[in-house]
Every structure is written in structure tokens, then in C-alpha cells.
Point group: C2
Chain length 106, copies 2
DNA sequence: TTGAAGGTATGGTTCAATCCTTACCTTCTG
DNA sequence: CAGAAGGTAAGGATTGAACCATACCTTCAA
């Protein structure tokens, strides 16, 4: 498997790219689940159970990665997705909270 | 001029629609200017000086209105755009601050 | 009442996002 | 080694976003 590329540095993150990535409900669901998980949770792409093909999965996770929302690291057999929580929070405070709060009961 | 329709109630606002509306740099610029202005500022569409045609202006302001970001009220000759600041802040706290902080000097 | 200003509607183009199928690669497991 | 699992790449269809030009409507001002 080729190395996952296209991880922007925090100062390279573009608000427009983040908002565009989060405008899609399936990608927002991925981020929301990661935010609500305990810190340092790693998840594989398939584990989110999105109702799309494998190829579309790759596409969505690429958008999330290139926007800077997640980091993808090789884990031998597969590839793990980590939320870049602190970096995002430092540069765009409150953004992740907005996503996490969506459709949450009071 | 037909009445401006499609103003969602606060509880009808969809985070996805807001993020999609704000993913466009020109619409984000409009909202950022309104946020940075004093409260209760009314602006006409043209006053923002966006480099697009009148038809595209109508489109962009319709997207902002239907997402719930602005309220458009008839002012006889023209139509004023108001930021729905409090309603947005109540439902999605921090969202407007993110937009306003973009590209701002320290 | 004529014109200019501000907006809208329509029709059409272009470009990107989303999605799928198929094919292929790598790594772990049996 | 063979197969399954996880992921990527390439090709193609579909859809929607963004844009423009043109035409039309309403309101104010000369």
C-alpha cells in the first residue's frame, strides 16, 4: 500500500476546505464519531459502516485527510484514521464541537 | 419584487446547509463582513462588491438566506441583508466566530 | 413619464463532486 | 502458497454548483 500523503500542516489548513469536507453528511458522521470517542481512538475506514462502495470510501477519507481533519497511518495490513483534534482545535476552535453536537439529544 | 421567501426557522436550520453555504469563499466573505460590522447592520447585495454578475449575486444570497444565515427584508427599492446573528449563535455557537476570524491579522 | 438602480427568472455552459464497477496491490492468516 | 481483508487507481455516468447573458419587474428620482 502506498504511503498516505497529503496531510497538511496546521498552518496550511484552509477553512474553506474544512467546511467543504464537513458539508457532506457521511464525512460529518465520521468526524462526529471520532470526536465523541475517547481521545486517541484509531478506526479503520470500514469500521464506520458507511453505505458506499470501497472506492467511495477511499474518496471520502482522502477528502478528510487532505482537509486536515484526520491523519491516516499505516498499520501493516490496513490504515488507521486518527482525528487531528488538538491541531484543529488550535487553529479553528469550536469547529469540532459544532460537528459533535449535531443531532445529539439534550 | 416578489417577497423574499425561504427563511428557515432556527430549529429548521441544518448544519450541513450552513457548512455548504460557508464553504464558498465569496459567501464566507459576505458573512465575515456582516459579523465584523456593528450589530443590526443592513447591507444591500451589491454593496459587498463581489466580482460576479447580478444573476450570480442573487444565487449566492439565496443560498445564504435558505441556509438561515441572513434575513432579507424588502426596503422598497431594494432588499436589505441582515445577519441572523443571535439565532445562529444560539443554535450553532461559535460558527460565526470561526468565519469572522479567518484571514484576520492577530 | 421616462430612466436608472436593484433583484429575479430563464436558459445554457462548464466544472467538480459523488457514486459505481472493475482491476490491482499489499499484508495477514490459514 | 492461496485466499481473504483492506485499500487504491482508473474509467465512466450522473448530478449539482457556479457562472454568464439576456430579459423582465418594481421602485425611486429627475
Amino acid at each position: 500500500m502506498p504511503d498516505a500523503e497529503g496531510h497538511p500542516e496546521p498552518e496550511e489548513m484552509q477553512l474553506g476546505a474544512l467546511l467543504a469536507a464537513l458539508a457532506d453528511p457521511q464525512r460529518r458522521r465520521v468526524i462526529a464519531e471520532l470526536v465523541r470517542s475517547a481521545p486517541l481512538t484509531e478506526r479503520t475506514c470500514v469500521s464506520f459502516g458507511l453505505p458506499v462502495s470501497k472506492a467511495s470510501l477511499t474518496h471520502h477519507f482522502r477528502v478528510l485527510r487532505e482537509a486536515g481533519l484526520i491523519r491516516q497511518v499505516d498499520r501493516g495490513n490496513s490504515r488507521a484514521a486518527q482525528l487531528r483534534r488538538d491541531e484543529i482545535e488550535a487553529r479553528f476552535p469550536g469547529l469540532l464541537a459544532l460537528v459533535a453536537a449535531e443531532d445529539q439529544p439534550l
